[in-house]
Amino acid sequence: MSEIDARVVRYVADLARIGLTDDEVERFTSQLSVVLDAVGKLREIDTADIPPTASVLPLANVTREDEVRASLPLEDVMRNAPTRDGDLFRVQTIIEERPEERVRG
């Protein structure tokens, strides 16, 4: 059996910043156990001297000229924002302001 249980599902969902209901945790735990058991069969293959695939393409270091080009019209981009303040995306406060730090400007 694989090592996934409800605690692990909650932990990983938290890492991925996905809110789950208790029902979902229960359902996903049993479903993902089955899937992980199936993919766990890979352990049977000896890959000691085999390099991992980085890309199926024979390409490396694709570069282009660093040229200034027109960007998308601001309004076309901002139109999709769920909440905005003029030309800014509005988000919740992520840095708490403490009085003693204010002095440092």
């Binding site: 991925a16 996905i18 809110g19 899937v35 890979l42 991992p52 695939t53 199926v56 999709n80 924002a81």
Partner: protein, 485 residues
């Protein structure tokens, strides 16, 4: 005009002979799409389609001979279209209007093709049945109690039901070829790096490719001709000289060596599917091909590789849905709470499952055991294909182990659903081109024959598929409802 012509070639001939106009074709497609009973469409962009059709008629009047000029097509709703809502089949993108078009859309527009609208799909292309769409499942026109396959089910059905002449889909593990097989049309995934992914909603970036659905192999080749080529906006497109993809369509298979991989005729394959595919392979032998029994011993492990690499890449790609710049936003008590609430409400169950699986496979302590291990086995699988293609020109296999299954039959068993793609996903893992073409019916439902070629050998793959198509009538099959209409 009541019906669209049976192929791009026929439609183009009518247009250039002035026996039909692009506006007339567009009106038929708009009308058919508007009354589509299969939930294949999420949006019909009728006004834009009419404008594109008028422009196409002007081009044709001035002597434009571009084969796609004036041809109506359907766009899977994971491909971004400027000014036309693009949802990826997800509530989290409901209402999103892209500020730019995907390169593939621009190329078809430049070729004069007429986009009729956006088609339904499994959410973020995660699924094999189209039941994971936030906007309801697509029904199979051969039997509306069954799925059309997925994830590009809407485009497959729009072509199968005669609502457009061709469609675009995306294929990460079979999402073009499998619905093509289950819906009775041709569908093709190009070699990784052939077609730009710029402007396509990202799912699993090392596996995703855009490709066409059509009625005939020639139609598929004509659309590929417009799509292929390097794009400065996608560094994973291969800089290759342009080539005529139709050059070998008439050559036949005489003298070709076709591999029949024994691992593709094993447990789980329906007897009716095996019968139809074996008969198709015999027909190719009858046409002069030499059949070789070959082995791809690690085929059984492709599913394991796929269900680590693909969710891992998806979990990274879908981290962009944060409720800040676009898409759904559900406020939580703080920013992290907002992320969680937004994704909890915006993603469907399959997307959440895969994000958790992918995050798990990439997390500390499991990264080597799962992700690195999978990428090593991926190297093994790719090498097995490379070795086989040193001996054969192409491989012939079933596309899917089963015909279309009932809506709801596999929704509570993710592993059973994932097994639908065992014959298609190895092709993505190795980055190869693959096409599915109709090769008969089993229990009244379509069966697909898959032809796989070595990287960049699409012309060879088309040669095999076209030879089969010429020798048989299966590509002329139409679903019962479309025949009655």
């Amino acid at each position: 005009m009541a019906e669209l012509p049976g192929s791009i070639r026929e439609a183009g001939d009518l247009l250039r002979a002035r026996r039909a106009t692009a506006v007339e074709l567009a009106e038929v497609a708009i009308e058919r799409a508007g009354v589509d009973p299969y939930n294949a469409w999420l949006l019909v962009s009728a006004e834009q389609a009419r404008a594109q059709a008028r422009a196409a008629d002007e081009r044709i009047a001035s002597g434009d001979a571009s084969p796609l000029c004036g041809i109506p097509w359907a766009c899977k709703d994971i491909i971004g279209t400027k000014g036309v809502e693009t949802t990826a089949g997800s509530k989290i993108l409901d209402g999103y209007v892209p500020p730019y078009s995907a390169t593939v859309v621009e190329r078809l527009e430049a070729a004069g093709a007429v986009m009729i609208g956006k088609t339904n799909l499994d959410e973020f292309a995660m699924g094999s049945s189209n039941e994971n769409s936030a906007f309801g499942p697509v029904k199979n026109p051969w039997d509306t109690s069954r799925v059309p396959g997925g994830s590009s089910g809407g485009s497959a059905v729009a072509v199968a039901a005669g609502e457009v002449c061709f469609g675009l889909g995306t294929d990460t593990g079979g999402s073009i070829r499998q619905p093509a097989a289950l819906s009775g049309v041709a569908g093709m995934k190009p070699t990784y790096g052939r077609v730009s992914r710029y402007g396509v909603v990202a799912f699993a970036s090392s596996l995703d490719q855009v490709g066409p659905f059509g009625r005939t192999v020639e139609d598929i080749a004509l659309v590929c001709q417009a799509l292929f080529g390097v794009d400065p906006a996608d560094a994973t497109t291969m800089p290759l000289p342009s080539e005529d993809l139709c050059r070998d369509l008439e050559r036949g298979v005489k003298g070709m060596r076709l591999g029949v991989p024994r691992e593709y005729f094993v447990k789980g394959i329906e007897p009716g599917v095996e019968r139809a595919v074996r008969a198709a392979i015999r027909e190719l032998e009858h046409q002069g091909a030499t059949l070789l029994d070959v082995s791809l011993p690690s085929t059984d492990h492709a599913l394991g590789v796929y269900y680590i690499v693909q969710p891992a890449e998806a979990s990274a790609n879908l981290a962009r849905y944060d409720g800040v710049r676009y898409g759904l936003r559900v406020e939580g008590p703080d920013l992290v709470g907002t992320y969680k609430a937004t994704r909890g409400a915006g993603f469907g169950p399959e997307v959440k499952r895969r994000m958790i699986l992918g995050t798990y496979a990439l997390s500390t302590g499991y990264y080597d055991a799962y992700y690195v291990k999978a990428q090593k086995v991926r190297t093994v699988i790719k090498k097995e294909f490379d070795d086989v293609f040193a001996r054969v020109d192409a491989l012939v296999t079933p596309t899917s182990p089963t015909v279309a299954f009932g809506i709801g039959a596999k929704t509570n068993d993710p592993l059973a659903m994932y097994l639908n793609d065992v014959f298609t996903l190895p092709v993505n893992i190795a980055g190869l081109p693959g096409i599915s073409i109709p090769c008969g019916v089993s229990e009244g439902l379509p069966v697909g024959l898959q032809v796989i070629a070595a990287s960049y050998q699409e012309a060879t793959m088309f040669r095999v598929a076209a030879a089969y198509e010429r020798a048989t009538e299966h590509h002329r099959m139409r679903p019962p409802a479309a025949r009655a209409a």
